[in-house]
């Protein structure tokens, strides 16, 4: 790694104020250092923020993590000896898991086994040889960030506050330093929830396992209404929206059978009228075919569910980036963000660790906009932070 990067990191860790970490003495810490970028040092423990700060200033890590879990013996090497007490609930929203149209322009992937490659969101496994060893080149552009912040706002306002009854002050939002955000829930009485319980929460937020069978509606039993709480209301609003906004073409492209399309287009007004109000009538919707109903449920999920990364929330022994630390692959820091700062969030401003400018040589054509700057090939002077980002990503060299 570049000398400049190390110097900037070192300077940062010398003067940084790390936010207070609740129950710091019960958490495990882990680090990756500059001279051994392929080794993670685990099972570290600290008794106070000051002790941690001293360590950071001396070691200047490339990456720093801490456990969402609380342990009796965080320093123990063995999971059983650690003795798990509980874990914060954390949600992760990462552009990596959200399909955005701009990825086609700025992201690339390549299979390390067979050499197959492509543009856009990287597949989970290679389409030609099924290998999972895939090299991804992914960027955050302004559009990607916008998508991620929208998703965070949805998560917090629609789900965590409205449905789960959490308070804004119990939620801490962090920019992850790369392509997403972490939302930490700080409510003591939830830390003991087991993996299965957390999976239920994840399924709720991702819209998994939602059932409202068309059979029930066909039997004439009362259905949900637009103003109902949680998913019942979402479902009704989704159906309403789909039926009121779609035309023949969009229904066809979604795969609706001909018969259902004709039915929707002919009776649209009637269906919508019946669905509105406090005592909706679902009899008309229930006349749609099973296939159409399945498509509708898919549409509802796609439009209302929130794209969190389930692995982060269900893993009760997870290591997560330390707030205040620098992400070694981007040179940006993990920074706390308030809910009302999310709109128009600019990581190169808010997660900045260095001011000023730097002249760099960009090695390839990137077709990307970063923090308002269009990056071109060749030599150019950029804000230091953006230059640092390109250097950390291995796409630019400093010219000074």
């Amino acid at each position: 790694m570049n000398r400049i990067v190390y110097r900037v990191f070192k300077n940062y860790y010398r003067r940084v104020a790390i936010d207070d970490i609740p129950c710091i003495e019960k958490r495990e810490f882990a680090f990756v250092l500059f001279d051994r970028p392929d080794v993670m040092i685990r099972h570290k423990a600290f008794n106070s923020i000051n002790e941690l700060k001293r360590f950071l200033a001396n070691a200047t890590p490339l990456h720093a993590y801490y456990s969402t879990a609380y342990y009796d013996h965080p320093e123990a090497r063995d999971m059983d000896e650690k003795v798990w007490q509980g874990a914060d609930i954390v949600f992760d929203i990462d552009v990596d898991h959200i399909p955005t149209p701009c990825k086609k322009i700025h992201d690339r992937w390549k299979c390390l086994d067979c050499g197959a490659h492509g543009r856009g969101m990287a597949p989970e496994k290679c389409p030609s040889c099924s290998s999972k060893r895939i090299d991804r080149v992914s960027w955050i552009c302004d559009e990607c960030i916008k998508r991620a912040t929208d998703e965070v706002i949805k998560l917090i306002e629609e789900y965590l506050i409205k449905d789960f009854g959490l308070h804004e002050k119990e939620l801490k939002i962090y920019f992850s330093g790369h392509r997403g955000f972490h939302v930490h829930v700080e409510r003591k009485d939830l830390i003991e929830l087991d993996q299965e319980a957390r999976r239920e929460i994840v399924d709720y937020i991702k819209g998994e396992g939602l059932i409202l069978s068309v059979d029930v509606l066909r039997r004439g039993l009362p259905g949900p209404s637009l103003g109902d709480p949680g998913w019942l209301g979402r479902l009704t609003r989704g159906v309403y929206q789909l039926i009121s906004c779609s035309d023949e073409e969009s229904l066809l492209s979604m795969g609706f059978p001909r018969r259902d399309i004709d039915y929707i287009l002919t009776y649209r007004e009637k269906i919508l009228q019946a669905l509105g109000g406090d005592h909706p009538y679902w009899g008309y919707v229930a006349k749609l075919s099973k296939k159409a109903w399945k498509l509708i449920m898919g549409y509802v999920k796609q439009n209302y569910a929130c794209m969190i990364d389930e692995r982060v929330t269900t893993d009760i022994k997870r290591l997560i980036r330390l707030p205040g630390s620098i992400h070694g692959k981007t040179g940006m820091r993990v920074v706390k963000v308030e809910l009302d700062e999310l709109e128009g969030f600019n990581p190169f401003e808010r997660a900045r660790i260095i001011k000023g400018e730097l002249k760099v040589y960009v090695r390839e054509k990137l077709s990307i906009k970063l923090g308002g700057y269009t990056i071109t090939e060749g030599a150019q002077t950029l804000p230091f932070q953006i230059a640092l980002y390109l250097i950390c990503r291995g796409r630019a060299e400093p010219l000074e």
Partner: protein, 344 residues
């Protein structure tokens, strides 16, 4: 309080027993003979019928026989018997609670289980909900593997899940079942000297259970060396078998998955039935009917397939997929591929 003998597990009843200061030696006296008798009876009803009756002739007998039954079971230390008793006792309470006043349910949830529950009267989708429970407490107690109980299919407002009375009774049943199971599994200290009357009761219970116990075959006999290879089972199925092995109470979807999987790889109805003898609420004729049904011998005459991986994920039954799983979308495909590979 009228519900005390009905519900000997509530805090007050336990407190009552404690205040009476009954010691182990006391249990040897004549006074306690009817209580030991009733404790035996409780267990016998559990073994035979899968549900314990409520007898209110003598409240004292009813209350004190409950901890005695648990004492007997923890001495025997048979997880299958304990699990069966826990299910049966919890069922009894469920059926009682459905008839009780709302305030009684509220009292039990708040005091015995320390759940955050309060009374509401909210109408959603034409149903009137009488209770709201904090989602944390809901998630801790909810029966797993039943899609209607999934959080997403429940009205959730401001952190509270709405429940109808019979649903709250069901949650109490689940929580009580778990509590009894864990009480029965506490290993007694070896120095404990039991009065003869109790020793005798323990013996009688063991004797009573013996014919049932013997029919529970060992899972390792699962066509050992035959055409079926447990090694090739996917992790989801192995986990279910492990649960069965430990006498755990499997939710409906788990049973369906296991039965259809085993039938589809060639086990016979009787073989599958024998496996299910281990479930604590086993009822031979009911279980046979259900297995024959999914085997396609009854009703619709459709032979059912186990659910796909994605369905199993949704039901929380795919908890630890392995490397091999990434190549399949169905547990049967997993098995078929593994078997093919094994033969090579």
């Amino acid at each position: 309080m009228k519900t005390l003998p009905n519900t000997p597990f509530v805090k007050e009843a336990q407190e009552y027993v404690r205040r009476r200061g009954i010691s182990l030696e006391d249990l040897g006296s004549d006074y306690f003979r009817p209580m030991i008798q009733r404790a035996k009876e409780r267990i016998r009803e559990a073994i035979k019928y899968g549900i314990v009756r409520t007898v209110l002739e003598d409240p004292d007998v009813e209350i004190i026989s409950y901890p005695i039954a648990i004492l007997i079971l923890s001495q025997i230390g048979d997880p299958f018997l304990s699990a069966r008793y826990a299910v049966a006792e919890a069922k009894r309470v469920n059926s009682l609670l459905r008839e009780e006043e709302d305030s009684v349910l509220l009292y039990i949830t708040q005091h015995t289980f320390q759940w955050k529950v309060f009374k509401v009267s909210t109408k959603v989708m034409g149903r009137t909900y009488a209770f709201a429970i904090y989602f944390r407490d809901y998630l801790r107690g909810v029966p797993r593997g039943e899609i209607a109980w999934k959080l997403i299919n429940r009205p959730l407002i401001d952190g509270y899940v709405l429940l109808q009375k019979y649903e709250l009774a069901r949650l109490i049943e689940e929580a009580l079942r778990k509590r009894i199971e864990s009480l029965c599994s506490e290993r007694p200290s070896s120095e404990m000297r039991l009065p003869t009357a109790l020793e005798k009761a323990i013996e009688e219970v063991i004797e009573l259970y013996r014919p049932y116990r013997e029919r529970i075959g060992s899972l390792s006999e699962l066509r050992a060396g035959g055409s079926i290879s447990r090694e090739a089972f996917p992790p989801c199925i192995k986990a279910l078998l492990d649960d069965l092995e430990r006498g755990k109470n499997l939710p409906h979807m788990a049973r369906f998955t296991l039965a259809t999987f085993l039938l589809n790889i060639g086990m016979s109805i009787d073989e599958v039935l024998d496996l299910f003898r281990r479930t604590p609420d086993f009822n031979e004729s009911k279980a046979r009917y259900q297995i024959e049904h999914v085997a396609g011998l009854r009703g619709s005459k459709i032979k059912y397939l186990p659910p796909s991986c994605s369905t199993l994920k949704t039901f929380g039954l795919c908890t630890s997929p392995d490397e091999f799983c990434s190549r399949v979308r169905h547990p049967l495909a997993y098995y078929a591929k593994k078997m093919r590979r094994g033969r090579k």
